[in-house]
């Protein structure tokens, strides 16, 4: 039985603003089930977001929450984690927020390996501003700013974040909502920087323009194009063209940033005490 998550919601703020069929609510449910599975107290969790459709999420959540400026969620989250390392700091962000305007914050948080979990709601488009292409829009897709098709190639955001130094990187989809919950739970339980890309659907500004007429069509697309990592390992590069891997894509153990910083404070205070003696 899936666990109801309504006890984590500010129910007076519901229903949410997301369009009918928007996958963001499914991803949000997966985040909440992950938190529930870890048995975390509401006061132990701080959820931070930037700007965009995905970034509206914390407004509905009964945790410590912060809705910040465009692309800067991880910068704010870094401050929170430095001040209160005992908190589970979770950034909820979109593909535009995380990969475009906040791209530097993302890679440097990964480089520092600070104990923040970032869940990127990747719907391939800037939905809130009516469908401009983002750094995650697939090549050839139609967008309001790409009426003849997007000529750019998207990032592999998971590869990027792992290469930058993150401790845990995974990808799931709204369709594979149970798997997504499990990946997010493992990410939150990771000590260093953890990143989960959640492929989600924007039926309003991406699907309709790109031959997927409904949210149901878009979820079926996710089902048909996602390949579990174990299966992908046995497939050739040609077989994987147009597909994407889901599951745990990278895990490593590296010193976490706030612990390193605490060690610096300890060393400095010891030296000062010795000088005073």
């Amino acid at each position: 039985m899936a666990m109801p998550v309504t006890h984590y919601l500010r129910t007076s703020k519901m229903p949410h603003i997301w369009c009918a069929g928007c996958g963001h609510g499914i991803v949000l449910g997966a985040v909440l089930r992950a938190i529930d599975s870890l048995g975390l107290d509401k006061d132990e969790v701080c959820v931070v977001s930037g700007i965009g459709c995905a970034s509206r999420a914390p407004g509905y959540l009964d945790f410590n929450t912060l809705h910040t400026t465009h692309g800067r969620a991880i910068a704010f989250a870094t401050g929170i984690k430095m001040a209160k390392p005992e908190l589970k700091v979770i950034v909820l962000t979109g593909d535009g927020d995380a990969a475009a305007i906040g791209g530097n914050h993302l890679i440097h948080a990964a480089r520092r390996n600070i104990g923040i979990t970032t869940v990127c709601f990747n719907n391939s488009i800037y939905g809130m501003t009516s469908g401009q292409y983002s750094p995650m829009t697939p090549t050839g897709s139609l967008a309001s700013t790409a009426p003849y098709g997007n000529i750019e190639e998207p990032f592999d955001l998971c590869d990027l974040v792992y290469a930058a130094g993150a401790s845990y990187v995974a990808r799931g989809t709204a369709y594979h909502a149970l798997l997504l919950s499990k990946l997010i739970a493992k990410a939150i339980a990771t000590e260093g920087f953890s990143f989960v890309e959640a492929i989600t659907q924007c039926p309003t500004y991406y699907g309709r323009r790109n031959n997927m007429r409904s949210a149901v069509d878009m979820l079926k697309w996710q089902k048909e194009h996602a390949v579990p990592v174990a299966a992908a390992a046995k497939m050739s590069a040609e077989e994987l063209v147009g597909k994407f891997r889901i599951g745990e894509l990278g895990t490593r153990t590296r010193p976490e940033y706030t612990r390193r910083y605490a060690a610096v404070i300890e060393t400095a205070q010891k030296e000062e005490a010795e000088q005073d003696a």
Binding site: G23, G25, L38, P203
Partner: protein, 94 residues
Amino acid sequence: MPGSIEAGPAVEGRPAEVPVEINQKWCKGCDICVAFCPKEVLARPEGGKAQVAHPEKCTRCGLCEIMCPDLAIVVVPAARKGTSSRGQGGAADA
């Protein structure tokens, strides 16, 4: 109490009268629950919200609950018999 994120086995025996609660105020009528329910328990009238059309077919697998983008669905465990102990979301409270 921490919960489980397993979908869990289907509950044996006769389901409670309304195994699925749908908060009509939160449902936006996207059809995801209707399309993905493996037992065709749910239906949606033209222009309306999701409804429990065939409660007797429900196995309480929980798929509609985890895939509802409006967080509007709660699958009621057999023992709870139609009331939501966790609160404000369920149709029973609406």
